[in-house]
Amino acid sequence: MIAIVDYGVGNLFSLAHSLDKIGAECQVTGDFKIIQNAEKIILPGVGAFGDAAKKLKESGLDRLILNQAGEGKPLLGICLGMQLLFDRSFEYGVHDGLGLIKGEVRPLYEISKGLKIPHMGWNSLHFCDKNPIFRGLCEGDYVYFVHSYYAKCGEGLSATTDYGGEVTAAVRKGNVYGVQFHPEKSGETGLKILKAFAELR
């Protein structure tokens, strides 16, 4: 069973349904026991970093996630959920993240000078490292992005996309995975990625 962490941020309807669609059992939950018993964890997130980090901390879910990831349980952060994996973010102030992957989250205009912000729409993936959740994908496959901040990775960069420069599309460090785009909104390609994550051993 995959636990989709519910900490009051974002719309989890599509994510839960896309996992249903690929036949992966999942539960949207903030319950510690259920998350501890899950085989895998997805950390979703839409909205502002500071608010999300605060909600994770207040609920104690931050420590639970760190502990579960530390035990080797596969963890997938999506969009803001990926950004939360890093050390800190500079979105409206400076906020600490989970620190599972070295790096920081910075305003996208630093890379995408002159381009429209948010980076919204379908953009192609370029792989720079082997990542089992991209099994069966092809170089250049399109996925759906919506974000105004980007992760400047200190380690673990596994895919990029081009938006005025190389933008982090995915990271991986051991059992900790993150994608900046929304696999649950990326059609067939996105479902393939979720399926590969669900089938990780």
Partner: protein
């Protein structure tokens, strides 16, 4: 590179997709879930749903339709029609919408854009504008294009962006339903004034109209309704032609 998006628009009334023809009456087109799945499989990059029912029953039915679509179709869904309050945002987001478009509701209460952006994030708030040319400028209309306001379209778009809208849908009243091409001068005027994505709407009648749109204006997406509903051409054919013309698309 970021692909230009092709977006079919589905007007939903009493649980069915309908389409106005020649500005008189509404024709029944199809079942929304069936049509949405079809478009998604054929390469649509996103779907826009407008709830054009007025009754409470129609609204409840719309939520059921939306839930049905969102549980079957895994591309972004934008929902508009009758969005006047944060409660309206809540209602459609809970049914699986990814973005919510405001039009008359934001004209009546401009703070709606800012309040919604603060609560749900900029990416969630789409400012939809119905625009008509008047002399040398463009005016915004409300209530589905029926009521003229004194608002200048370029100024309204800038206000929307500064208030936190993450995207703009620009619908030209002058070209809507005419099928003679998009309203390029109007689109250009607004696109040049903002730095958020713009979806062009109104006037698509052929594949070449989309080619012309993306070649001449910095729009991010093209919206179409009847050209797709009545299968004048397929999304695949359209995208192949765009690609041939050097325009980046998701095939």
């Amino acid at each position: 590179m970021l692909a230009k998006r092709i977006i079919p628009c589905l007007d939903v009334k009493d649980g069915r997709v309908v389409k106005g023809k020649n500005f008189v009456g509404l024709q029944d087109v199809d079942d929304p879930i069936k049509l949405a799945s079809f478009y998604s499989e054929c390469g649509a990059d996103e779907l826009v749903f407008y709830d054009i029912t007025a009754s409470a029953e129609g609204r409840a039915l719309f939520c059921e339709v939306l839930k049905g679509v969102a549980s079957k179709v895994f591309i972004p869904l934008t929902v508009g029609g009758g969005i006047n309050t944060l409660d309206d945002f809540d209602r459609v987001l809970k049914c699986g919408a990814d973005k919510v478009s405001v039009n008359s509701g934001a004209i009546a209460n401009p703070d709606l854009i800012k309040n919604a952006a603060e609560k749900y994030g900029n990416q969630c708030v789409v400012l939809s504008m119905d625009v008509k040319k008047e002399g040398n400028c463009y005016k915004v209309y409300s209530k589905g294009g029926r009521i003229r306001t004194d608002i200048d379209a370029v100024e309204w778009a800038i206000f929307g962006q500064n208030s936190g809208a993450g995207e703009i849908v620009l619908n030209s009243i002058d070209t809507d339903g005419v099928k003679n091409g998009f309203d390029l001068p109007m689109l250009e005027a607004v696109c040049n004034a903002v730095n958020i994505p713009v979806i062009a709407s109104g006037g698509a009648g052929s594949i070449s109209h989309f080619v012309e749109l993306f070649k001449s204006v910095n729009a991010d997406a093209g919206l179409g309704a009847s050209v797709f509903h009545y299968r004048q051409f397929s999304i695949k054919e359209l995208k192949n032609e765009l690609k041939k013309n050097g325009i980046e698309v998701r095939l």
